[in-house]
Symmetry: C2
């Protein structure tokens, strides 16, 4: 890897860490470059603006998280247990972040949605695409559960959005209290929201 | 009202409007003073720092919203219908904000929680107090519903937190899509989360 692409990668890595912890508006290009250890001139060689960098960070973050979501949601388990896997993975990721940074930093997509989705249209649009994809992946699992007669929902898309909304809401509480305990409610709440019967594999419903 | 207290009130009003739309980090004291139409010197006469101003804005915002929540949640209706009233009021407030500003600005408490609760301890603590109060008010209503046998929950506090989490999550989607339609899910989802039977007053459960 040449020096040039190395600088780009350092900028992206620094921006990802800083945005995860402190959002978007609090950061300046100078701080990102200082953290990355690259001269400010390099920044504008690779990125047109801070907004362009943020869009790239969102893309990379989602590319990585999408792989995790696919692993959880497209496995061989019965559908509801795949959703449980997603919640367990989410809690584990937040606990790992807390162990590293000393603080639960939450979901970068949720954080940026509430910080600035109504201020910049390109970022709003990218966040919409990401949440559309998340809701779509959950929707596929719920559809499979409906086919098996495991859940009772009137609108699968709405149900999927409600499951992701509950996830974002409980992650908000985890961040607020710097405590991942609220994430334990995700699985029983998902069962309740979907009118689910208890899965066969020994997991009791609420 | 003398000139002095007038300036304080103008600063608070400007800060509230700007924070509602753009959060905390994106704002500077100079911009707040310019919007308020007061000289920058006045700012530091009334407020020690931008953080001190933000805490006052949170207090005033919650004092006003608490009155709305009390009106909805401490009425004479049966308990579940009081919760429905809260969701209807929330949707109406977000629609009114959208009509005024052109964009759904969401919940200031949720916005600031995800933007900066892990960055400043005084703001984190104030937001914790506000959400504790919200969850406590919902908890009282759920307790009343439990007494009447209207709902089935294992832990009333956890259930209340889940109802508020669902609210914050759907408000996040309303802000993301600049569309208040996701808030229509709050009532049926609340019934599902609480294992509620349909209230007597002609409202069907999901």
């Amino acid at each position: 890897m040449g020096r040039t692409s190395d600088a780009r990668s350092k900028i992206l890595h620094a921006a990802q860490s800083l945005m995860e912890l402190r959002g978007y508006s609090a950061l300046g290009v100078a701080e990102i470059c200082k953290t990355a250890g690259v001269p400010k001139g390099s920044f504008y060689y690779f990125f047109e603006s801070k907004e362009a960098l943020a869009l790239t960070v969102l893309d990379e973050q989602w590319a990585a998280q999408r792989r995790d979501w696919e692993r959880a949601l497209r496995g061989d388990q019965e559908p509801m247990l795949r959703l449980r896997q997603l919640f367990e993975d989410t809690a584990a990721a937040q606990r790992a972040g807390q162990a590293t940074c000393g603080t639960v930093s939450g979901c970068m997509f949720g954080n940026l949605t509430l910080e600035l989705s109504n201020q910049t249209e390109p970022i709003r649009q990218r966040l919409q695409e990401i949440f559309d994809a998340q809701v779509g992946m959950v929707e596929d699992v719920i559809s499979a559960a409906v086919e098996r007669g495991d859940v009772t929902v009137t609108d699968v898309r709405d149900a999927a959005r409600s499951v992701v909304a509950q996830l974002e809401g409980q992650v908000l509480f985890a961040k607020l209290y710097n405590d991942t305990a609220p994430l334990d409610a995700l699985w029983p709440n998902c069962l309740a929201l979907l009118g689910a019967r208890a899965p066969e594999s020994g997991v009791a419903a609420v």
